[in-house]
């Protein structure tokens, strides 16, 4: 689904979302009971590379919302091929730009903004750690692709045979591409299908803003250890 | 990866001690964890190694080590990432350096 179809599905015509470069942004309006709820939408499209500019532009949009519209929910729409692999971006401190975006999202949450992440196309590697994965909860469309690396490339880097990787990936969600794996591990709260607007409304109605992903991973059986380890450490 | 298990008799008892860890599971290196063991008259070796097919060499290395130290009531656990026997022996010697032996019985 491209971003235009997505925002229609989410908001109908009630939005001002536009694209600037690879960044999409604007406001959207949802009818919640009798009231109209305005939502700030920030995201990327066209499998955006997350370089310093893209990270900074998204951070500015989040900060603008926090500065000017206290409490307005923020929806982060994710479509990225990962961080930009250029020496120049590293020279400028890409990790700082990206972390800044993550800090802005986190600040928005602390300031009372609901933050919903949605992977609607692809989310590769580090590209969405500081956006969608920093939301209160991150969701995905079933047809979206989430991965760190494809198995052939992973096989080359780890020197583990592709056959072994492939056969293990059938039962273990820990390394292979796929949104279902991320759901099983708790990184994705759930998949949205059918009435996407309703899915969004349901997400906004979920009162939880704390990070429950290790618990989800344990409950769903995709990440058996993380929750237990976290608790063992806290209780130490 | 290969998992190897050896239980070798020994006769030098040790005092109670805290677990000792030396080394790192890095390329060509290994970690050795020495803990009080369950067998009062022998030392157990439990080895995970990335290099498959070197069981005979491992056996020779730990037997040589045990022949020198005669540990009993001790468990040695190893995670290995392709260390040479030279490195393995060095780590074992480093690990055992802080094990508090009771006075070696005259033998």
């Amino acid at each position: 689904m491209n971003w235009k179809e997505l925002v229609i599905a989410l908001f109908g015509e009630a939005h001002t979302i536009t694209r600037t470069g690879d960044v999409i942004s604007g406001d959207a309006h949802l009818q919640v009971a009798e009231a109209e709820l305005t939502i700030a939408v920030v995201g990327t499209t066209d499998h955006a590379e997350i370089g310093v500019e893209t990270a900074l532009a998204q951070a500015r949009l989040v900060l603008d919302t926090v500065s000017r519209y206290p409490g307005r929910p923020i929806v982060l729409l994710v479509d990225t091929q990962g961080q930009r692999l250029r020496r120049r971006d590293e020279l400028l401190g890409l990790n700082r730009y990206m972390a800044h975006l993550g800090c802005c999202v986190d600040l928005a949450r602390r300031n009372g903004h609901r933050i919903i992440g949605l992977v609607y196309d692809q989310a590769l590697s580090g590209g969405f750690i500081t956006s969608g994965l920093m939301a209160d909860a991150c969701y995905a469309l079933p047809e979206a692709e989430i991965r760190v690396m494809r198995l052939p490339a992973m096989s080359r880097v780890t020197k583990i045979s592709e056959d072994l990787l492939r056969s293990l990936s059938e039962t273990n969600p820990v390394f292979a591409p796929g949104v279902a794996n991320y759901v099983a591990m708790g990184g994705i709260q759930s998949l949205w299908s059918g009435d996407l607007k309703q899915c969004l409304l349901d997400a906004l109605a979920d009162p939880n803003t704390s990070d429950i992903r290790t618990r989800l991973g344990a409950d769903r059986g995709g990440r058996a250890l993380a929750e237990r380890v976290v608790h063992q450490v806290i209780e130490a | 990866m290969e998992r190897l298990d050896f239980v070798l008799a020994g006769h030098r008892p040790v005092q109670a001690f805290e677990a000792i860890l030396v080394g790192v599971v890095g390329s060509g290196n290994l970690e050795v964890l020495v803990e009080p063991g369950d067998h009062p008259a022998s030392c157990t070796f439990l080895i995970n190694t990335s290099a498959v097919g070197f069981g005979a060499i491992w056996e020779a290395v730990v037997k040589g080590f045990q022949a020198r130290h005669q540990l009993c009531g001790v468990s040695v656990s190893i995670n290995d990432m392709g260390a040479t026997p030279a490195v393995v022996s060095l780590r074992l010697d480093q690990a055992i350096a802080s094990v508090p032996f009771l006075k070696a019985p005259a033998s």
């Binding site: 310093v52 900074l56 951070a59 900060l63 961080q83 692999l85 250029r86 020496r87 120049r88 971006d89 020279l91 400028l92 990790n95 700082r96 990206m98 972390a99 800044h100 993550g102 800090c103 802005c104 986190d106 600040l107 300031n111 590697s125 580090g126 750690i129 500081t130 994965l133 920093m134 760190v148 690396m149 780890t158 273990n172 969600p173 820990v174 390394f175 591990m185 990184g187 990070d211 990440r223 250890l225 993380a226 380890v229 608790h231 063992q232 450490v233 130490a236 | 990866m1 677990a19 860890l21 790192v24 599971v25 890095g26 964890l33 803990e35 995970n48 990335s50 656990s77 995670n79 990432m81």
Partner: protein
């Protein structure tokens, strides 16, 4: 002639021992607990008893602190399920026990490929947990001085902390040079040109740019001294702080976004002889940064 005790030379466990007050460290989920990665064995790769990260409590100058140290030699310090959960747990523990600081001795290539999905999620969990600790007024201090640097997800986590301390041998960035080279070719980034790699990602560049707050020699004593000076030094994030950061990063892009080499950037920052930077020691570099009105922060 050479450092009495090189930080880079030591392993994670030794760094912890030498950073804290002698004998004060108590490890949480230490090697005997055998909380290991269940995934590595399935892939035929040996695990480590601590999954490559040492965590625990200790004292620094008699003040209670929490500490984590990544082992860069094991899986490149990569963050997997257990490794990440230990870091998350430590941050949550900080909220409970309120130490004078949480020290993270980062040395990592980022996400551990063998458990990539768990690692990716864990990195964002650690980021959120770090920001929770920071918001609670407990300083999180990143210490970076290992030979493997601090890359990928750990580079992101580092920049969420209150303070970043680096040695001039350390590196911090997002993608490693080898990754960029294999993706874009050697013309884009020659990963074997170490001088170029360090000029682009090394401690000196990060210090001149303001991406790390403090630069130290590769010396355990220097790290300890600086770490102690940061006890209780919380820098809470607020809107104004992030607006300032936005301005700094925007100006950086405007002023130096066209530069293709660190030397050009340094010159624009007011460094008169960029070619001399590489051979300067830490003290000279600190003097240089103090003496220039540098555009970075």
């Amino acid at each position: 002639m050479i450092n009495a005790l090189s930080y880079a030379e030591l392993n994670a466990r030794q760094r912890v021992e030498h950073l804290l007050d002698p004998g004060s460290f108590t490890e949480i989920l230490g090697p005997s607990a055998r909380v290991v990665s269940p995934h590595l064995a399935l892939l035929g790769v040996p695990y480590a008893f601590d999954d490559g990260v040492v965590i625990g409590t200790g004292l620094m100058h008699d003040q209670p602190v929490l500490i984590a140290a990544q082992e860069g030699r094991f899986m490149g310090g990569g963050v997997g399920e257990v490794h990440g959960a230990k870091l998350v747990g430590l941050m949550r523990l900080a909220l409970k026990v309120r130490p004078m600081a949480v020290f993270v001795l980062a040395e990592s290539g980022g996400v551990r490929l063998h458990e990539a999905n768990a690692g990716l999620i864990a990195v964002s969990e650690v980021m959120r947990a770090v920001l929770d600790v920071r918001a609670a007024g407990i300083p999180v201090v990143m210490l970076i001085g290992g030979a493997n640097g601090c890359f990928g997800g750990m580079g992101l986590i580092a920049r969420c902390a209150d303070h970043v301390v680096m040695s001039d041998q350390a590196r911090m960035s997002m993608s490693g040079p080898e990754v960029i080279e294999s993706s874009r070719g050697v013309e884009e980034f020659d990963s074997r040109d170490r001088a170029l790699v360090w000029r682009t990602t090394g401690g000196k560049h990060r210090f001149l740019m303001g991406d790390c707050d403090l630069l130290v020699e590769d010396d355990m004593g220097a790290f300890r001294q600086v770490a102690a000076s940061l006890l209780g030094c919380s820098q809470k994030l607020n809107l104004q702080g992030l607006l300032d950061e936005q301005r700094v990063l925007t100006e950086r892009l405007e002023n130096t976004g066209q530069c293709n080499d660190a030397g050009e950037i340094w010159r624009r920052l007011g460094v008169e002889h960029p070619e001399r930077v590489a051979d300067m020691d830490v003290e000279q570099l600190q003097a240089l940064k103090a003496s220039q009105i540098l555009g970075a922060s």
